[in-house]
Symmetry: C2
């Protein structure tokens, strides 16, 4: 989508809205994950958080809450107090605690995944197990996990709603573990079926987007139909996000990406791209040798592009995004819903 | 305490009661942690559970629930249905789900701790990262963690009580991580103060006993004074348990212990025993070389015994146990309270 047209303007507004919420989340994390003893454990727990990140999942939590409130016309923009967000049925909810909780859970998975994949870099910084050590990285992940649940049980929402949100988060964590286990298995597998791959990224990545969209609705007492539509919005746009991530791994220079370009290919990871290429007869395993040069990576990417595999992945992501946006019809029309629509588009248009 | 006297009879009854509850817990774990996909992840998650264990923490959950019910005279023994346990304020609570949840959290910590300590054996079986691999052991721990919270949010107790129980469990998990981080740090530390050591084992081990005793009271709607007294009972008897564990590591043959005798000493772990011995001028670091023979371990133990260090640890454990038993005065008199008293004694009398 070109700059200067209506779409470009919408995107600029959406990005500004997400950035504003990212800044609010960053302030909140300092409050909700303060430094404590033992110092090294908490420093390691904060390491990946401080390294940055777009805070897309917590932004989703906040935007869904805002969108639901638009129907009630109770929230004035800007300057909404996410710490005491009015619930339609009365009472205030700390939706920011839920947003930070979701981000801590996401960060826990990053810390542990980097150990399993032995990835050196994350968000342009050294992975936790490299910056610290294996034990500290495992424990930092566990601490973030526990803190995420502490926060999710301190939102002040109606107890029934808090309980449902916690249950959703716990089930989501179980699914994420299953997805990561499949991802590790697939690296060794001789053949992976496309359906199995899609299931894997749904579990590993998309369900947390689903939870991020569903949890504010649960906390604010939305009906089941709304909660499940928002969950599907998150799952579909999160799946599209992951497919796009796999494209970016091949197409964006290492310094912009914050990690080595082509690392998935080098590690033998299956992606929608490699699965498609295999079906087209491309010798995917022979595309890259050890320590490839930039030129060798370029050649491998060209080969995948010629096979139509990168285009195929892009089309699959676009279909999922289109479906995810339709789910948003359960929300009242308004600026927050427009931003959620724009966010879904952005997930497959971003270049890092 | 000798067999044949009144104490011996009481202990036999207590052990039978704990064993009966262990069997019930083992049946419940099969229901609450069923095999699922991916198979290898769930097999690894079940590995340490199936390896056995005394199920002391879940037994504590069940016994506290029973003791609270004795005051209400609503529960007939035996054959109590832990899945729908009557709450004094009405409604039924699945206290077994809470018991299994606590055991899963305990097992998660074992799986991750064994990685950090690179312990080969646990409960007489290979540690998860040896039986499977590092990635699977990290993920199995994470899965048990998530499942523990799933179960704790599915007890059917009054939502306010469930929420309080979940918050207690989440805070406990954070404390456990802090304790394990201190334990890892202490292995490298030049000097550890006794107060720091006591704090470490309180965090690493005792708080989960505290949570196991407090959570059933929270779920059944007991008053705050009762909840906190039970928490302290758990913390004190759990600290005594850990001190006794450190004694057993030195004094019980490897085959009875399910892991190598003297492993703490060999790994340079600080314990109440080694801290005392250092204060007595014993060269603790020089007590054992690499791959010690049974005779060399015997000689090291004799040296610690001569320094009074093993006796010192025993006295400290006995003091904590005496204090913990006094906390139980908040519970109504009855067989379950008697068993909780006996359980505290047993924690420092057991030989494995």
């Amino acid at each position: 989508m070109g700059e200067g047209d209506g779409g470009g303007d919408r995107r600029a507004r959406m990005l500004a809205a997400v950035a504003e919420r990212r800044d609010r989340v960053n302030e909140a994390v300092v409050e909700d994950l303060p430094s404590a003893e033992p110092e090294r454990l908490y420093a390691a727990s904060q390491h990946l958080i401080e390294a940055g990140g777009k805070r897309l999942r917590p932004a989703l939590v906040l935007l869904v809450a805002e969108s639901l409130a638009e129907g009630e016309a109770t929230v004035e923009q800007p300057g909404v107090d996410y710490r005491s967000f009015p619930a339609p049925s009365g009472g205030d909810v700390d939706v920011m605690a839920a947003a930070v909780g979701v981000e801590l859970i996401h960060t826990f998975t990053l810390a542990h995944d980097d150990i399993m994949d032995d990835d050196d870099m994350r968000r342009g910084e050294r992975a936790v197990h490299h910056e610290y050590d294996l034990s500290t990285a495992i424990l930092a992940g566990d601490t973030l996990f526990a803190k995420g649940f502490e926060l999710m049980s301190a939102t002040g929402a109606a107890p029934t709603n808090q309980l449902a949100a916690i249950r959703r988060l716990a089930e989501t964590c179980t699914r994420i573990c299953e997805g990561q286990a499949l991802d590790v298995e697939f690296e060794q597998a001789a053949e992976v079926l496309p359906a199995d791959y899609t299931r894997m990224i749904e579990l590993k990545t998309a369900v947390l987007y689903g939870a991020a969209a569903a949890i504010p609705a649960i906390l604010l007492g939305a009906d089941d139909g709304t909660v499940e539509a928002l969950y599907q919005y998150g799952v579909e746009s999160g799946t599209a996000f992951q497919i796009h991530d796999d494209v970016l791994d091949l197409t964006v220079p290492s310094d912009e990406l914050g990690k080595a370009r082509g690392s998935d290919l080098l590690e033998g990871k299956q992606t929608v791209i490699t699965l498609h290429a295999r079906q087209q007869g491309v010798d995917v395993d022979g595309l890259l040798g050890e320590n490839p040069t930039e030129e060798e990576i370029d050649a491998a990417v060209s080969r995948l592009r010629e096979a139509g595999s990168i285009e195929f992945a892009g089309e699959r992501a676009a279909e999922l995004t289109a479906s995810s946006k339709e789910r948003l019809s359960v929300l009242p029309e308004g600026p927050a819903r427009t931003m959620l629509t724009g966010l879904a588009d952005y997930l497959i248009e971003r270049n890092h």
